[in-house]
Amino acid sequence: MKAIYVSLPTAISATMRLYIAYVLTSSKPDCFLLIGAFFLSLGVYGFDRMEDYGRSLLPALFT
């Protein structure tokens, strides 16, 4: 759970970067894509951080 918690700022930043790109290009934000970007980066960075916590994938997901 800690891996996911510490990855939250990165996931939020990733989503906001995409939002900034929408603002800069004056295009309509795609909510589905923004949510996807959030969960994708949360998953990727969370998995990356899990290595720091002893590759504990299952305990991290189920505790």
């Binding site: 906001m16 995409l18 790109a21 603002v23 295009s27 894509l33 994708l40």
Partner: protein
């Protein structure tokens, strides 16, 4: 854009090329090297995935986020300066590193503002410069939340403008 499925695949390939490398015609191609290569890979991966996620591919967005994430990831190298096995930018530039980051951020945001004429670039610039000038720990926290804070300040500005 139809590239939405391409993004995770490209990120996977870039990640593989960076960490493991691939063998091509008997030669191993691996991106993990010093002299800012890691920062360039991070910048390119972010820039490309954001530019491809837009309805219409925008090369200026790719360039902007490439440079921005290059600067951000270089700043994060500061904490590992004594442990790094590969020559990172803070190791090479020494005391001039923060000056380099500051000048790079000024140039990047000036060009971005001239091109997009959007206030969100100014908020992003102010936060980036504050992070570079601050102590390492505080700077890292600001960099972490810089995109979210920029968006918050921008939305606040729009809200204030509409309510006046």
């Amino acid at each position: 854009m139809g590239g939405n499925f391409v993004v995770p695949v490209l990120l996977f390939i870039i990640g593989l090329l960076y960490s493991k490398g691939i063998k091509m015609r008997g030669r191993k191609v691996r991106l993990k090297a010093g002299y800012g290569m890691k920062n360039a890979v991070v910048g390119f991966a972010w820039g490309l995935s954001i530019a491809l996620s837009l309805e219409k591919f925008d090369s200026c967005i790719l360039a902007f986020f490439f440079a921005k994430l290059f600067i951000n990831s270089a700043f994060f190298d500061l904490k590992d300066v004594e442990k790094d096995e590969i020559p990172t930018l803070p190791l090479i530039l020494g005391d001039k590193f923060r000056l380099f980051l500051g000048i790079a951020a000024v140039l990047l945001h000036s060009l971005a503002f001239l091109h997009y004429r959007n206030l969100i670039v100014v908020f992003s610039f102010v936060l980036s410069q504050t992070a570079i000038l601050m102590k390492e720990d505080t700077g890292r926290k600001i960099i972490d939340f810089e995109p979210a804070l920029s968006v918050f300040l921008y939305l606040l500005y729009l809200f204030c403008q509409n309510s006046l």
